[in-house]
């Protein structure tokens, strides 16, 4: 085992490595960008719900149109996502369930429906539950890669173009509403982007691993940064590193690519957590010499 065969050879044996890394990177960047906003809005588990309810959406679209074309699949998944958003707020409002219980009620019911619809009525469709759950980075079709690339560019451009409104709506929705921002539309757009990204990423990494691609980079960045710009940048970097390192790990160990990427991401999160603790421990002043600065009065607003 030389370094060459470990690191370079996979790139020379056909185009699968290039395609795999490209797909995984596109998924990682799109998911990491959206994940930051989800984590900041404390809606991480919504990605769990949307990743699961895409299945009944896909199967429903197949049963209605009889095709597994990209457009039908996307529309089905977006309809399912909208239905979920509506049902979750309805269950919260009238069922008296807390946020996470409402999400759990809606997505388990819809996912169960999806699994049954798929196995009972649509078993001839080119969909199967294990593909939906696990995905296959190396077997992604050309048109899916193009979709992912377009999506990634659109997401990047929108985050850059609408940075201020997004920032304000995320951190202080009440203020954003007061200054006249269409907060409901911003969040609606975010949900739509979320469901489109989830569906597009499905084929590559699978439903459960989409959740990891959204939450882990954002949560890692949230530990390490204090500004939205840097948080987005760190999350994207985390996603890209997990994608490339995960790809190598999966080749070396001959295991699932999506799973390896998630594990690498989780290790990076663990390192970030350890680092924040270490940094805090190093910053902590010793008790031997009292620091006079700590007794001074806290900074106040300008006196009148």
């Amino acid at each position: 085992m030389s370094l060459y065969s470990l690191f370079v050879e996979p790139w020379t044996a056909g185009d699968w490595m290039w395609r795999g890394v490209l797909t995984a990177s596109l998924v990682a960047v799109s998911c990491a960008l959206l994940g930051c906003f989800l984590v900041l809005r404390r809606m991480s588990l919504f990605s769990d719900a949307l990743a699961h309810v895409a299945l009944p959406g896909l199967v429903g679209a197949y049963l209605l149109t009889g095709s597994t074309g990209t457009v039908a699949m996307f529309l089905g998944a977006i309809a399912a996502a909208l239905l979920t958003t509506g049902l979750v707020s309805g269950v919260k409002r009238y069922g008296g369930a807390h946020g996470d219980a409402a999400i759990g009620i809606v997505f388990t019911a819809l996912f169960a429906l999806g699994v049954i619809m798929l196995s009972a009525f649509a078993s001839d469709a080119d969909l199967d539950t294990s593909c939906v759950l696990f995905g296959d980075v190396l077997g992604v079709a050309d048109h899916s890669i193009i979709t992912l690339a377009v999506l990634c560019v659109v997401l990047l451009a929108s985050v850059i173009a609408f940075f201020r409104p997004l920032q304000l709506a995320t951190f202080d929705p009440a203020h954003a509403r007061a200054v006249g921002l269409p907060v409901a539309w911003i969040f609606g757009g975010m949900m739509a982007a979320l469901s489109v990204t989830t569906v597009a990423s499905f084929e590559a990494v699978g439903a459960v691993l989409v959740i990891a691609a959204m939450i882990t980079p954002a949560a890692t960045a949230h530990l390490l940064t204090r500004h939205l710009q840097t948080m987005l940048a760190v999350a994207v970097a985390h996603g890209l590193i997990s994608a490339v390192v995960g790809m190598y790990v999966s080749i070396w160990l001959n295991c699932s690519t999506g799973g390896a990427m998630v594990c690498v991401g989780a290790v990076l999160f663990g390192l970030a957590m350890a680092w924040t603790h270490l940094a805090r421990a190093l910053r902590r002043p010793t008790l031997t010499a009292p620091d006079p600065a700590s007794f001074s009065s806290p900074p106040t607003l300008e006196s009148p």
Partner: protein, 331 residues
């Protein structure tokens, strides 16, 4: 239609076959499904009231690497090592969520998502590694994901029955501490109750339950069987003990209904069928519950409107009706 028969007489005939235990495995299947539903329903009440609803989902997904590890260590599919491995990783996941929440800026929802997805990712890695080994010709992965109640063995039914009895006994014996620590963590702590240990005990029980239920419902949907009966019971009653009883009964009914559906129609895996039955009960309760159902609310509003001639806010309306004193139960 993939061989799915929708003729009424066939359905009736199959139903009779099911409930008279015409085939040997049916009794085991039904008993297993009912037990799984009952125990998940009972524990679900605690999980939902303590706002840990999604913890069941995380634990369920986290059992996957445990099964993979057990398979790698033992080298073949055996029940006991699988149960031990799965309970261990399930419990580890539950504890890890608490650890991350307590020791970093990461919020509970993100911590839960990370743990869920990471453990599941680790599970997929292990399973794919197993499948690429010569001895790894195991086919049970799909059963493991979505459940196959027909494959429940007598030993598993015995295990489930033991678990249910233990949980019911523990709930009855520790009723007051459980009640207090669920609704008012602060008072419970001040009174010297071991609140954190109660939480750990609950997490351990839930992990064991989920592991024992995996054969019947699968890892992906076990969360539904934990949340839905408890949420249904919550709509029907305000009393804690009634909630516990109702959720247990509703869970058992969902289990029976799901097993029956899955026996009746091809393509109906038992896990999704049970969750769908539980969701049906929830939808019925949401529409028709005596005080909180949508129908009851509409009627009450109409009555008030008729009495006063003007629309007044419903004094029973959501926020006050669900009088939440529940503190965040995560220690």
């Amino acid at each position: 239609m993939n061989g799915t028969e929708f003729q009424l007489d066939t359905i009736l005939q199959r139903t009779v076959e099911f409930f008279t235990f015409k085939y040997d495995f049916v009794a085991t299947t039904l008993a297993g499904a009912v037990l799984v539903g009952a125990i998940c329903g009972l524990l679900g009440v605690f999980m939902v009231l303590r706002r840990l609803s999604m913890m069941g989902d995380a634990i369920g997904h986290a059992t996957l690497p445990g099964v993979g590890l057990a398979f790698l260590v033992v080298g073949h599919k055996a029940l006991a090592p699988m149960l031990v491995g799965a309970s261990a990783t399930g419990l580890a996941a539950a504890l890890l969520v608490g650890f991350i929440t307590r020791h970093s800026r990461t919020r509970p929802d993100a911590a839960l998502g990370i743990v869920l997805a990471s453990f599941f990712g680790l599970g997929t890695v292990l399973f794919s590694a197993i499948q690429s080994t010569p001895s790894g010709a195991q086919s049970g992965l799909n059963d493991f994901l979505f459940g196959n109640a027909a494959a429940i063995t007598v030993q598993e039914v015995a295990l489930l029955a033991g678990l249910l009895l233990t949980t019911v006994a523990a709930t009855v014996a520790l009723f007051r501490p459980l009640l207090l620590s669920t609704f008012d963590t602060t008072s419970a702590t001040l009174m010297g109750l071991p609140v954190r240990w109660i939480h750990y005990g609950l997490m351990a029980t839930v992990s064991l339950t989920i592991v024992a239920s995996v054969q019947a419902v699968g890892v992906v949907l076990v969360a539904g069987l934990i949340i839905l009966p408890a949420a249904t019971a919550r709509l029907l009653s305000d009393r804690f003990h009634l909630n516990l009883i109702l959720a247990t009964v509703l869970g058992a009914l969902s289990g029976a209904l799901g097993a029956w559906l899955s026996f009746l129609f091809t393509g109906f895996s038992s896990g999704p069928s049970m969750v769908l039955a539980a969701a049906l009960f929830y939808a019925l309760a949401l529409a028709l519950a005596p005080r909180r159902g949508l129908l009851a609310r509409v009627l009450a509003a109409a009555r008030r409107h008729a009495a006063t001639g003007a629309s007044t806010p419903n004094p029973d309306d959501d926020d006050r009706l669900f009088n939440d004193q529940t503190a965040d139960a995560r220690p």
